[in-house]
């Protein structure tokens, strides 16, 4: 009550908005719903009653828009079932994006936690390393890593890489890009939490540093990491698409990215080939961004920590 005057005089409009975003809200639930739906579809793709995504249904289906009999979302440029390809595409796209960001989360999170908690030389070294990797634009770094680790077929007997290896390389490349980002956030957040009384208290009481790091600091740093993780998955989904457009992505199996890449020549006659996977990316990215924002507002993750 003491500060009621100051409070009311400056009632920031933001405050109202923050409390509004604190609850998930209809858009939040819609986002969660979409993500659950798309993840389930991706995971269950092989047992769902879907057409073979690689099978062409011929001229009748090729470049036909949504709503033709037997093919709910129409066919692609050579008559493969769009719905099936979208769902199998989600499988690969999400596998790559989630895999990459999980890699970044585990490695970057651990390094950031170490750097922020142990400080000293280790912190200097790790921070410098983060900065080194951050000094190459993310897409350029990912592109270079993929190019080197999974060279493309030059068409003259060069050694094309297996599909599995290419997927792993993409996960690795996009993961390496995320490591320093998550590392930096985690470090900054750890720095601020490590100074709190309850952490100091358990240090004084003789708890082992590893225990303090994981039991006291990590749970508090986690919201910040989660929020960036969600945004990171969104960025990785788009990055997969970018790499596909640049000709270094997955080619053997459908991904949202390579569906757009192959469809771009047919924008005039069959725009749905580009628009359907684009919409899938759009809604997934939007849902992830929104939930990331909610977490950020909910746990007051400071922009400064970025």
């Amino acid at each position: 009550m003491e500060t009621i005057e100051a409070d009311v005089v400056t009632t920031p409009p933001e405050q109202v908005e923050v409390s509004a975003t604190r609850k998930l809200g209809p858009i939040g639930w819609l986002s969660v719903g979409w993500l659950v739906f798309i993840s389930l579809a991706a995971i269950l793709a092989p047992i769902l009653p879907l057409a073979d995504p690689d099978k062409s249904f011929g001229r009748e289906v090729a470049r036909k828009g949504p709503g033709i009999p037997g093919h709910l979302l129409g066919g692609d440029s050579i008559g493969r079932d769009m719905l099936s390809r979208l769902i199998f595409g989600a499988r690969t796209s999400l596998l790559i994006a989630v895999g990459a960001v999980l890699l970044g989360l585990v490695v970057g999170g651990l390094l950031g936690l170490l750097a922020g908690y142990v400080r000293g030389k280790l912190d200097t070294i790790l921070t410098t390393l983060f900065n080194v990797f951050l000094s190459i634009p993310a897409l350029v770094l990912a592109l270079s890593l993929v190019a080197v680790l999974a060279p493309t077929d030059t068409g003259d007997g060069g050694s094309p890489v297996s599909h599995t290896r290419r997927v792993l390389v993409l996960i690795l490349a996009l993961g390496i890009v995320t490591i320093p980002i998550l590392g930096r956030i985690t470090r900054a957040s750890t720095l601020s939490w490590a100074e709190r009384e309850f952490v100091k208290a358990s240090e004084v009481s003789g708890a082992r540093p590893v225990r303090i790091m994981f039991r006291e600091v990590l749970p508090n740093v986690f919201p910040a990491m989660m929020s960036i993780t969600l945004l990171g998955i969104a960025v990785a989904i788009v990055a997969e698409g970018s790499l596909a457009l640049l000709g270094v992505g997955i080619t053997e199996e459908p991904t949202w990215g390579n569906m757009i890449e192959t469809g771009r020549k047919f924008l005039r006659d069959a725009p749905h080939i580009v628009f359907l996977p684009s919409a899938a990316i759009f809604f997934t990215v939007m849902a992830l961004n929104y939930l990331g924002d909610v977490i950020r507002a909910r746990f007051d993750v400071r922009e400064a920590a970025l």
Binding site: P137, V140, P151, G241
Partner: protein, 325 residues
């Protein structure tokens, strides 16, 4: 005195980062499977000329030397202007020459898009902050949120197809130097600029809005209002400048990040910039050239970061002062 020392420390940090980045890119090359020379010159060893050429390249790239020696040699070449080449059986195409052509294209694209993004985002950010919570504010924010989720390759394809091909209003590929034909230059740059700017408009608008909302709560804004000057004046003269630190910093950093980082837009609109060069090097497996491009892009990025940082901390203590509280 204090300033000079701080500056010195930063310059050293800068050099360390650049050295480590180039070390990393050099190391990357050792990961390429197979004999690097065979990769660079993918021709069977069928005659003397080819064999001789391969030996020559091997010699020139110090491929028989251990990695540290190779790196130091590369560094020496790099700082003296030999940034690697596209190798062919008969000759080679120096990266430095290509950079000379490609860098201005990328720079133009990046600068145009940043200016365009700021010109659109600043008024929107100011007005949404002023009308925070209004229908206009919510609609603008929702639109911005949507723009953030729209991958730029999708926007590029849509714009290229509908505005370029279908309506036929603007060219969708190629580059015309300004000195050659200013009007055509502008026409060729419009779509790539808009594509690149779209998501940044959303980012900048949101950044400025939130800083501006905070500034509008400040005492000095109440003070300015109490002078009886118009709201417009309060917004633009009193509130905007103290709120613009973050947005200008981010815009500055983006100039660095988008040299090469705009690769998708460059490829789709066929602009011969750094991103295009990079992809060409990758697709033709010219890893030495790739290393050169990545090094240049990274150095550029680090330098821009450095400059923005200096501007931020040294040149405007007044803003720092306003934000520090």
């Amino acid at each position: 005195m204090h300033l000079a020392r701080e500056l010195g420390k930063r310059v050293i940090g800068l050099v360390v980062v650049v050295l480590l980045v180039t070390l990393f890119t050099s190391f990357l090359l050792t990961l390429v499977p197979g004999d690097p020379v065979d990769t660079l010159i993918p021709v069977p060893d069928e005659n003397e000329i080819v064999l001789e050429r391969k030996a020559q390249v091997r010699e020139r790239l110090n491929l028989d030397e251990p990695f540290p020696v190779r790196y130091v040699a590369w560094l020496g070449d790099f700082v003296t202007g030999d940034m690697g080449s596209f190798f062919r059986v008969t000759d080679e195409d120096p990266v430095a020459d290509r950079v000379k052509d490609a860098l201005p294209v990328s720079l133009q694209l990046v600068v145009y898009s940043q200016i365009f993004a700021l010109v659109v985002a600043v008024p929107l950010g100011v007005l949404t902050a002023y009308r925070a919570g209004s229908r206009f504010d919510r609609a603008t924010n929702a639109t911005a949120f949507g723009m953030l989720a729209l991958p730029n390759f999708v926007l590029a394809l849509v714009l290229a197809y509908y505005v370029g091909v279908w309506l036929g209003w603007l060219p969708v590929n190629g580059y015309v130097p300004f000195s050659e034909d200013p009007a055509e230059h502008v026409r060729h740059m419009i779509l790539p600029t808009i594509t690149l700017a779209a998501s940044q408009i959303a980012v900048y608008m949101r950044l400025l809005r939130s800083d501006m909302v905070a500034t509008l709560q400040e005492d000095f804004i109440q003070m300015a209002r109490s002078k009886g000057i118009s709201d417009r004046r309060v917004l633009w003269r009193h509130a905007l400048r103290p709120s613009s630190l973050t947005i200008l910093t981010v815009a500055g950093l983006n100039v660095g990040a988008l040299i090469g980082g705009a690769v998708v837009v460059e490829i789709i609109f066929r602009l011969p910039g750094m991103g295009t060069e990079l992809v060409q090097a990758i697709l033709s497996r010219q890893y030495v050239a790739l290393q050169g491009f990545v090094a240049i892009i990274a150095i550029f990025y680090v330098l821009v970061n450095f400059l923005v940082d200096i501007l931020y901390t040294v040149l405007d203590p007044r803003i720092r002062h306003a934000r520090a509280r």
